[in-house]
Symmetry: C2
Subunit: 288 residues, 2 copies
Amino acid sequence: MEIIIAEEAGFCFGVKRALELIERLHEKGQNTQVFGQLIHNQSVLNDLAQKGIKTITTFDELKPDHTLFIRTHGIPKETEENIKNRGIAYVDATCPFVKKIHHIVEKIDQGNTRIVIVGDKNHPEIIAAKSYTADAIVVNSRTEAQAIPQGKPLAVVAQTTLNTGLFKEIVSVLLDKAEKIEIHNTICNATRVRQEAIRKLAPQVDFVVVVGGRNSSNTRKLYEIALEKNENTYFIEKSEDLNNQEFIEKIKHFQTVGLTAGASTPPGELDKIKEYFKKLKIDNIARR
Amino acid sequence: MEIIIAEEAGFCFGVKRALELIERLHEKGQNTQVFGQLIHNQSVLNDLAQKGIKTITTFDELKPDHTLFIRTHGIPKETEENIKNRGIAYVDATCPFVKKIHHIVEKIDQGNTRIVIVGDKNHPEIIAAKSYTADAIVVNSRTEAQAIPQGKPLAVVAQTTLNTGLFKEIVSVLLDKAEKIEIHNTICNATRVRQEAIRKLAPQVDFVVVVGGRNSSNTRKLYEIALEKNENTYFIEKSEDLNNQEFIEKIKHFQTVGLTAGASTPPGELDKIKEYFKKLKIDNIARR
């Protein structure tokens, strides 16, 4: 089996930075708790737990001698104010590309402009971004964009992990909604490059494996893009998921696999998958 | 033959206004010369000529006792300054929607922003609009847009008569070129409504006739849109063009015709075409 890894895959800048920051706290001997899952990857979370770094979901769980760690997705403005008012010591690992969206929407004069955030309204990144506006419309589909009333000038930002194709489609709809539109293409470069890489790779291989957390937004988009280009696309969370008879049955005639991973997938995971396919005893060439 | 006229067709606001302004000058007994063809319609130009209103292409042709008339397309900033400096009496019938583009591009801070004008670089409207910028890139296709270098924020305006579909396509390309894009959808409402109307009508009829000047930009776009939806689409300049054996041979089996006209086509022309088809003796129903 020939294994081709997409030119760009796995950990992004923001995730690497957050892991380095939390590692540094640990090395300094500071007890740390993370507000929400640091990244959507169970093995990384397990590693952290072994170091005593645990996830909390409410402030009440925060131990008095612990430092609060804010993950890459960012937190709503009110939550940050709350933390400050309570005098809680914290380290903010919000991805700088996510933070930039807060700055952009905060500066827009909402008296004259309607803010449109393109992304998943239930994703923590978007909940946080929206908190920096007095009011914003969140849309995640062509249909939702079509429902925006005509008139007021628009200012548009995007979830950092948005599918670039969907962003373009939605902008195309918005062009009919206002005479003036200020577009901030805040899809982060890692997302763009990764999506471009799998868009290119998927049609060139027999099947595709996308690795990442089930609830990782950017991984899901890689999966969708790959699936569009190659119907034999599989979404797995970890290398162990491949060890599955039904899956092996399906891929046994294939000779090439394309591999990509979401921004929260550690490099070790990709190595394990590579190993798995190398060892997989499928006499596929003989069968062709 | 059933004749269906597109919901919106013919003279637009700017053209009607210009014709009213020139008519008023004529009624007041002012001798007038027009700088460039007033509209792309020969019969209207002939009517004007009969009233003694002629087209000039250089200032040297302007008679001392004549008023200069500026047509809807507008003129370059330098030309207007030249007119003012020479003390030439003039009436400016530049379409207000065209003038708006001059105001928009003039206000953009070009130190930080690259101006992109979407339209035909040889059309007088675009030549005039560009004169209000220190520097602007004019693009009229996806390929031309792709050649724009990445980086600087962009500000985008469109020719008032642009095909809305092409505008969307080009914006989609530009989204990859800069993180911030300020889009002014300056395609005029008449253009949008007309294009929408023929886009709707063309697939519902057996054949389409588009009326307008060969060098009328907005008519050409109506033709392109109709042709996309109905391969039996004909571009004519005047009702007389229909009186053509080859054309009659082609349409003799058809029962319904859709009709539209560019912004410079007078209502009388549409009436003449209607009459023509009514009188056309084609026993098409019997043949089916």
